[in-house]
């Protein structure tokens, strides 16, 4: 007999995970399906990790509303989940008269739209506060409420919360067929598993169009946009510790230089439309553009050692607006085209989805008692386990360093491997712990981390 769920959410990126978490508050059978071996393994893993208040989204759009709401919810709910944040603030910089005019207009607009904690700073003020910027800044828009957060632990926390509160999480479960039946949809995976769902929510991210196609919906086409990044080593943060970006032009938002929650400095993203949605390759041209951005904005970072280079893929479509399309008569809800604001918007999107689904599809109120979860705080500015005498006294595994560059202990890696949602790959383990994220990229610890990962896998399958 085929298992029946009330709701199947397709895609455990940050958006699908947030939706599954909100749905877990209702007395329903919910399943979260992920095509890859781990959650957050596509667009959600390669972004700038900024939690933005929303004033840089187009006014009057659903995207604007949901990003604003997503930010508000994140401020309250992230601390409850143990997720770290740093309100470093952001500056948008003008070096030319043309840029100055744009910045002034932006500040005015932000105020008119109700963002009052946005300020115009004079060039001298900018130079005094942030001497690292290339001289000649004429003015800047200062946004003190902009936040850096943990892009990897966030979807993990959402899935952990959802699963703890009753959601089934299946992976790898790549939907390869969708057929209408009396109750809703019958979904089949590429490895032959089958399940039924009364309502399907397609949060398929970069592959949402493929999922739509299975159900014969073709409202949009994907226009995947690649963003390349350079990650600088930790000493960079002593020079630069604020989110900074150039004045946007009509065609480009520009490359930002921002501290990360893990204590590094990130430079990126480029923006390139690519044919192949899986082409997360880094190119010479991309690297040159990133190095030029460093030169143009914070030239003192030019000789800073680079830890790694990578690219992310934004799930943009041929529409600029989110593609949230309810088709409840057909038991289908599309949540796609989240382009570059998924991380900030996820909780807003989830809340909006809930408002569409209840009571229209299921006439229910959130009834269940919620079991809280907390994930490890991976931020560099937190008390790290190796420096926490109480934690070490309780378990010496927190004093045995495994990853020396990021200072991640055997205890932390062991905990991540013992999670109810264990990492599905070595790269997922990196995202759960920060192990091997550092300057040596596994020269010292790669073999030991791999050995622990393999041993845990064997144990789980025993």
């Amino acid at each position: 007999m085929t298992v029946h769920f009330d709701i199947a959410v397709i895609g455990a990126g940050v958006v699908g995970s947030a939706i599954a978490r909100d749905l877990s508050r209702y007395d329903l059978k919910v399943v979260l399906l992920e095509a890859n071996t781990d959650l957050g393994d596509e667009s959600s893993k390669g972004n700038s990790a900024l939690m933005t208040e929303g004033h840089d989204t187009p006014a009057g759009t659903l995207e604007r509303d949901l990003v604003v709401r997503g930010y508000q919810r994140y401020m309250t709910e992230a601390p409850e989940l143990g997720l770290p944040m740093r309100k470093t603030g952001a500056v948008m910089l003008a070096w030319t008269e043309e840029q100055r005019a744009t910045v002034e207009k932006h500040v005015e607009q932000a105020h008119a739209e109700g963002f009052h904690n946005v300020h115009l700073l004079k060039g001298e003020e900018v130079a005094k506060r942030w001497p690292q910027f290339r001289p000649g800044v004429l003015c800047a828009q200062w946004m003190p409420d902009e936040v850096i957060a943990d892009p990897f632990s966030t979807p993990y926390a959402y899935v952990l919360d959802a699963v703890t509160n009753g959601v089934a999480f299946l992976r790898p479960w790549r939907v390869s067929r969708a057929e209408r039946n009396a109750k809703g949809w019958r979904l089949s995976s590429d490895s032959g598993e089958v399940l039924d769902a009364s309502l399907v929510i397609n949060a398929g991210g970069i592959r949402a169009d493929i999922v739509e196609g299975l159900a014969n919906y073709r409202d949009f086409t994907m226009r995947p946009r690649r963003g390349q990044y350079i990650l600088l080593d930790k000493p960079a943060r002593a020079i630069h510790d604020v989110i900074a970006y150039p004045t946007p032009t009509p065609t480009s938002r520009g490359i930002l230089i921002s501290p990360t929650i893990f204590g590094n400095v990130l430079v990126g993203p480029t923006a390139e439309e690519v044919e192949d949605r899986d082409d997360r390759g880094v190119t010479e041209e991309g690297l040159a553009a990133l190095r030029k951005a460093i030169e143009d904005m914070v030239p003192t970072l030019r000789d800073m050692p680079v830890n790694t280079i990578y690219a992310g893929m934004r799930p943009a479509t041929n529409h600029s607006e989110y593609q949230i399309i309810p088709r409840f008569d057909e038991h289908w809800l599309t949540v796609a085209g989240i382009r570059s604001t998924g991380f900030s918007g996820a909780l807003g999107i989830a809340e909006y989805v809930v408002s569409l689904v209840f009571p229209k599809v299921f006439d229910l109120k959130p009834a269940k008692e919620v079991r809280g979860v907390r994930v490890p705080d991976l931020s560099e500015t937190s008390v790290r386990p190796w420096a926490d005498p109480d934690k070490i006294a309780a378990d010496p595994a927190y004093s045995e360093m495994l990853c020396h560059c990021e200072r991640i202990t055997v205890g932390e890696v062991r905990d991540a491997l013992n999670s109810p949602i264990p990492p599905g790959s070595i790269k997922a383990l990196k995202r759960r712990t920060r192990a091997m994220f550092g300057r040596c990229q596994g020269f010292y610890c790669g073999a030991r981390v791999q050995a622990m990962f393999d041993a845990a896998k064997v144990k789980r399958h025993a």
Partner: protein, 322 residues
Amino acid sequence: MHDPAVLIVGAGPAGLAAAAELARRGINDILVIDRDDAAGGLPRFCAHPGFGIGYAPVPQKGPDFAARLVRAAEKKRIRILCSTTMTALEAGPTVTITGPETGYRTLRPRAVILATGVREANRGNRLVPGDRPEAGIMTTGLLQQMVARKVPFPAAIKSIVVVGTEHVSFSAIWTARHAGLNVRTMIDEKPRVGSFRAAGWLARAMGVDIRLRTRIAAIKAQDNRVSAVVIDGRRGTETIPCDGVVFTANWIPETAALTASPVEIDSETRGIAVGNAGRTNLAGVFAAGNVLHPIKASGSCAIQGRRVGAAVAVHFELNATA
């Protein structure tokens, strides 16, 4: 736990030779810490001859030379604590360490010898473009640890390309062949082989295609595995199919624990800046081995460790008479 007279950070050739020399000169209150799970340093992962030249009576295989140094220290009852990391070093000298036996604590030894060694620049450090598969991009250090620790390679890696032609590059070939990997090609931007010319002849005789004046332009991947490297050299741009790429040499002194410390780093070598007999700018803090100057052979590091050990012993005698 009491403050040792001398704290040595790093139980590789330089650190262990310094410890042995101090003990020989009557200074026995020594603690050697190493952040890895066993003592001996990098030679312990290099299962081929050529280690300890000039220090050991005869050159040995890496693990044998490492074992000799450890045995010598143990014979002198020198305490070696593994899995123990220095996390900060301030004037005093004041050292913060963390480890299962010590917990998180501060030590105030009379002298510190930093012998933290080197690592190779990886793909990211070198800004090599292309894909980022889950498996198959390595350094010699990672390759050799995988083999020495008997960790199977994540994917079926059969043939590799080695970037670099230094001593360590041939060490990587040695290890790779013992692990059953086929080395197709070595590439180097330099006009001639960086190691002994004989090493090049030998590698060519084993069927390795050595391409000089050639750089790696990109890494290609398929199904989350390396599928090829794109190289750019005298014959133009070529794509060489392979399952893995090993970045070798291009050494970077390991000074990570010192980023927030007053110990001076030499902007040229990127290693610890030292004056006479391994003295750093911080009173009572010395440094030896490859953390100073990438890269010298294990024997030279041990000899230098011995010399710095002697200098620290003299430093104590002078302080005692003063």
